[in-house]
Amino acid sequence: MRRLISLLLLLIVALGLALCLSGAPFGARGADEGAGLAPDKVNFGRRYNERGLEENGAANIVTSVVVNYRGFDTLGEVTVLFIAAVGLAAVLYTRTGKAASAGAEPSSLVLFTGCRFLFPLILLLGAYIFIHGHLTPGGGFQGGAVVASGFLLIYLGCPDRKLSKAAVGAVESLSGLAFVAVALVGLTVGGSFLLNFLPKGTVYGLLSAGIIPLIYVLIGFKVGSELGGIIDNLSGGSE
């Protein structure tokens, strides 16, 4: 019965979507066809593509959108991740906080050495990704995730090494505070939250695009430490 109702529900949803999209062929707003999904209206995407480079000086328009035009969303987004990290720790909180590493068996020498060798390289890669976020694909989120996967590797390869919870918490709080502070500087300098108040520099240069690389590096630190904290919380304290 429950299965039948579910399938019926799914069918209705699918039908509605199919009908809705039947007039909207994929990728129609191309150069070869005039009309499409969003004909001659104010279109965010087109404007950002046309003006983004001169307005923000970042070669990667997606970065420009993420950090500047829709930077407020991004602030909310790192907050969501922050909530997940804090909430996870609150949900999995146990009063005793028993040491989990007692039962962990040491990994083999090859794995241990390999991890120790790879870990700095992964961190380097992550840092490269978020520092070059305004020039190449990638940025704070991707770089942060790479950094977190480095922590994951350490957790798997060297179980006796633990992330310091205090250090992780300090990094995520400080980078979050710095994000808000940079945004507020924009408010005081130019009267607008998240204003790109620094000089734009030359396009394609590493030091270009004003506050965008600065904020993306902060996001990288924040995302890396939060995801690292999530991994640490979920993996530790097993029964």
Binding site: N60, V62, T63, I129, P137, G138, G139, F141, Q142, A145, V146, A148, S149, L152, L227, I230, I231, L234, S235, S238, E239
Partner: protein, 84 residues
């Protein structure tokens, strides 16, 4: 090119069905990672390299790890119960 993309989409759908079917949760999670990986390649073909990188590192990498930690702490098989 569209043929290749169609192939990717089909693999993705099959992997999603597999993730829905498998009784062994570990296999289901791996199938789920395959879905994310295929989605990431499709993102790349749709000219969204930023999203492709994020999906590959977060969707296919970290989510899978988080899932495996959770399965490690609970049960591995769908119908299986802890006998206590």
């Amino acid at each position: 090119m569209i043929v290749f993309q169609t192939f990717l989409v089909l693999v993705m759908i099959v992997a999603a069905l597999a993730a829905a079917r498998f009784g062994d949760l570990l296999n289901a999670v791996i199938a789920c990672a395959l879905v994310s990986l295929m989605a990431s390649i499709i993102f790349f073909f749709l000219q969204a390299p930023d999203v492709a990188m994020a999906e590959a590192s977060i969707g296919a990498g970290l989510s899978t790890a988080i899932f495996i930690f959770a399965i490690n702490k609970t049960v591995r098989y769908e119908g299986n119960e802890k006998a206590d």
